[in-house]
């Protein structure tokens, strides 16, 4: 088919055409080239105005036609980039060219308009598509920025929530210390059965509240990335049987049988026993809570790279569709559960996070009505026998020592806490000297010797940390023997412990004060005094 076109029609299809002879001397020029290179005239050699990007070989018009070689040329001033092919006509070699779409980004700078593009080829559409693509990329970038901002804001809000929880937990702990401390004192002083049973309810309620506070504090630590784990040797069998025993009476009250199958994991391990106990205790507490009849079992076995602890019950079970939900914070499989069974819904979430921090995981198998089995896998190492023996030797408790003559100074600004401390220590025959802040503690220490100082951390005038640092500095200067200083604080986040140690504290006892722990700390201190290994 031979097609005849008028010059105008042809130019609409190829606004950038060129006609040359075999020697590449220009004969005619299309309007879009003239627009940008008005001085290019018939008779000029093509290479006066253009260089060939393709072909790479020296261009020969006859060969370009014969081989249908793609042609790409650029103007020597760098503005025009044209591409197309060459056909032979009786008037010469016709270069059918368009503005190269690859250069679309610079088209608007150059001043190309719709007229410069062929009606027949798609170079204009390609240019438009490339421009729109740029738009979309910019938009995507903007969206990414917006998401980033939203993420940062959400994280800041989450941090604020963690801080709030932490501050609130701390604020609630102080009065709770008064309640629990005084209750413990009163229980020891009372023999009336009715009063004792009422006080026991106060104590249990206080401890329940404390456990909720501890959950909240753990949650905020985990979320803030401040949950540090210990790596110390401990006896896994003791840990698991201890956790198991703690629930026997509760299980018996419900008529449940408790089973224990943990022989396979006897031995010493390196890890964080407190947190492992917390996980197991949590699973046991849930198991008993949700089991009305039958049994609850703790079993454990060694697996490759660690061990596996399972808590299995014959309770109400969980719909598999709810598995992912039960590990969520403040979530229980059914919101009505909270009303029926109580609990914050934080326990499993914390247990899962703790297991994760220990390089492990918790899985659940269950069916409604058929009980549940929660399995904890922990990447935890067992110690060899020789190391274990040495540990046992270290564990030996100091011999009981009389506290009667102990000279104890306490720095505590809160009057309730002062009274609690005083009463607890009185029951052990210790007469306490109390000062109101760190400054007064330093003064009291300067004026006479003490066997031990109990130091609150947050106090007006001078904090416990500052006071301790001052005392340690003075001791170093005057070569006075070191006085044991025990921190009494609700701030017992693991990351704060090194700070206390660095300040020169000999030990830490958490508030609300548990009588047993406080007395153990005092006994340890005295044992150290007597063996001459003062802190």
């Amino acid at each position: 088919m031979d097609v005849g076109l008028t010059g105008g029609q042809f130019e609409n299809f190829f606004p950038c055409y060129l006609v040359t002879n075999q020697a590449l001397v220009v004969q005619r020029v299309g309007r879009s080239i003239t627009k940008f290179l008005p001085d290019l005239l018939p008779g000029d050699r093509l290479d006066k105005w253009f260089i060939f990007d393709r072909p790479v070989a020296t261009p020969d018009p006859a060969a370009l036609v014969r081989d249908q070689t793609p042609v790409q040329i650029r103007s020597i001033d760098g503005r025009l980039h044209l591409s197309g092919c060459v056909v032979e006509q009786d008037f010469g070699f016709l270069f059918c060219l368009s503005h190269s779409p690859g250069r679309a980004a610079t088209w608007s700078e150059l001043g190309l308009t719709v007229d410069d593009f062929s009606l027949a080829d798609q170079s204009l559409a390609i240019s438009t598509a490339i421009s729109l693509q740029k738009t979309l990329n910019a938009e995507l970038q903007e969206t990414i920025e917006n998401l980033r901002t939203a993420r940062d804001e959400a994280m800041a809000a989450s941090r604020a929530k963690s801080t709030f929880l932490s501050v609130m937990s701390h604020e609630i702990r102080t009065p709770l210390n008064g309640i629990l401390g005084m209750t413990q004192v009163m229980i020891r002083e009372t023999s009336d059965e009715q009063t004792l049973s009422r006080l026991d309810i106060v104590r249990q309620s206080g401890e329940g509240l404390l456990s909720i506070l501890n959950d909240l504090l753990d949650l905020s630590r985990i979320e803030a990335g401040k949950m540090a784990l210990e790596a110390i040797p401990f006896d896994m069998f003791e840990l698991l049987s201890g956790a198991h025993s703690a629930f026997i009476s509760l299980a018996n009250n419900k008529g449940l049988s408790m089973r224990l199958d943990i022989e396979a994991v006897r031995g010493r391990y390196i890890g964080d026993p407190t947190r492992i106990r917390q996980i197991v205790t949590n699973l046991l507490s849930n198991a008993i809570k949700f089991t009305e009849s039958g049994s609850v079992e703790v079993s454990a076995r060694c697996i490759e790279g660690g061990l596996e602890i399972a808590v299995t019950d014959t309770g109400i079970g969980i719909d598999p569709a709810k598995f992912s939900e039960i590990f969520g914070e403040f979530r229980q499989a059914d919101t009505s559960i909270n009303r029926g069974f109580g609990g914050t819904g934080l326990g499993l979430s914390i247990a899962r996070d703790l297991a994760g921090l220990m390089g492990g995981m918790i899985t659940v198998e269950s069916r409604p009505g058929e009980g549940s089995r929660f399995t904890v896998r922990l990447a935890i190492a067992r110690k060899n026998d020789r190391e274990a023996e040495i540990d046992h030797a270290e564990d030996a408790l100091p011999a009981p020592v009389s506290l009667d003559s102990l000279r104890v100074l306490a720095a505590e600004d809160n009057e309730v806490n002062q009274l609690v401390l005083r009463k607890i220590l009185e029951q052990f025959g210790v007469t306490l000297t109390v000062v109101m802040n760190g400054r007064e503690a330093v003064d009291a220490w300067t004026s006479k010797p003490w066997d031990v100082i109990l130091m609150d951390i947050q106090m007006p005038v001078m904090s416990g940390v500052e006071a301790t640092q001052l005392i340690r500095k003075q001791e170093a200067l005057t070569q006075r023997p070191s006085t044991p200083i025990i921190a009494l604080t609700a701030n017992t986040m693991t990351h704060q412990l090194p700070e206390y140690e660095k300040a020169g504290f000999s030990g830490v006892v958490a508030k609300p004060i548990q009588v047993g722990l406080l007395m153990q700390a005092l006994l340890d201190t005295i044992a150290n005094l007597e063996t001459g290994t003062r802190a």
């Binding site: 608007s108 390609i126 438009t128 729109l132 740029k134 938009e139």
Partner: protein
């Protein structure tokens, strides 16, 4: 319509009335998400709900809102990322109107699912250009009117635009140039 239209509408509302107004418009249009994606197609019904709600919020008629949006749309495409596409319209209002249809045709190839309008110059002299507008959508004449006024502004061409009725499928606009173009 494609999200680029909605995004432009959002910019207009944010510029003129602030973020609270935009939230109110989204709420009264029952749209959850104001983050439109330029290259995504949204049902026309969404667009009209947005426009109607914007009109309510601004205390304007839908026609007035569409016309104002036409002006804003020219601003949108004349600046920033669309400038490269806009540049190919040429350097004068006559160039722009002549090339308007080919520009839309080229966008149609780049975005095959877009339902873009067609523009044809019916007649033209030094005083006035009569432009036929074809669209598969109804009710957007005020938008086209605002858009053509926006183009007059864009090319610094004094003049006015009037809707001058229909002719079959064509909806006709007369762009009067004052003073007339130099011969």
């Amino acid at each position: 319509m494609f999200g680029m239209i909605h995004r432009s509408a959002r910019t207009m509302v944010l510029e003129q009335f602030g973020p609270a107004a935009w939230d109110q418009i989204l709420a009264s249009a029952k749209l959850d998400d104001g983050d439109f994606v330029s290259a995504q197609s949204y049902p026309d019904e969404v667009t009209f709900r947005l426009i109607t709600s914007a009109a309510d919020t601004a205390g304007l008629t839908v026609e007035q809102t569409l016309q104002a949006f036409g002006h804003h749309w020219v601003k949108t495409i004349n600046t920033g990322v669309y400038a490269n596409v806009m540049a190919i319209l040429g350097v004068s209002i006559v160039d722009a109107l002549t090339n308007l249809d080919r520009m839309h045709a080229s966008i149609q190839i780049a975005m095959p699912d877009a339902q873009l309008p067609q523009f044809v110059i019916v007649s033209q002299d030094e005083r006035a250009i009569k432009l036929a507008y074809y669209s598969k959508r109804d009710g957007l004449e005020s938008f086209v009117l605002g858009l053509l006024e926006g183009l007059l502004n864009r090319y610094n061409q004094p003049g006015s635009v009037a809707f001058s009725g229909t002719d079959g499928e064509a909806r006709l606009f007369t762009i009067t140039l004052a003073p007339p173009l130099a011969a």
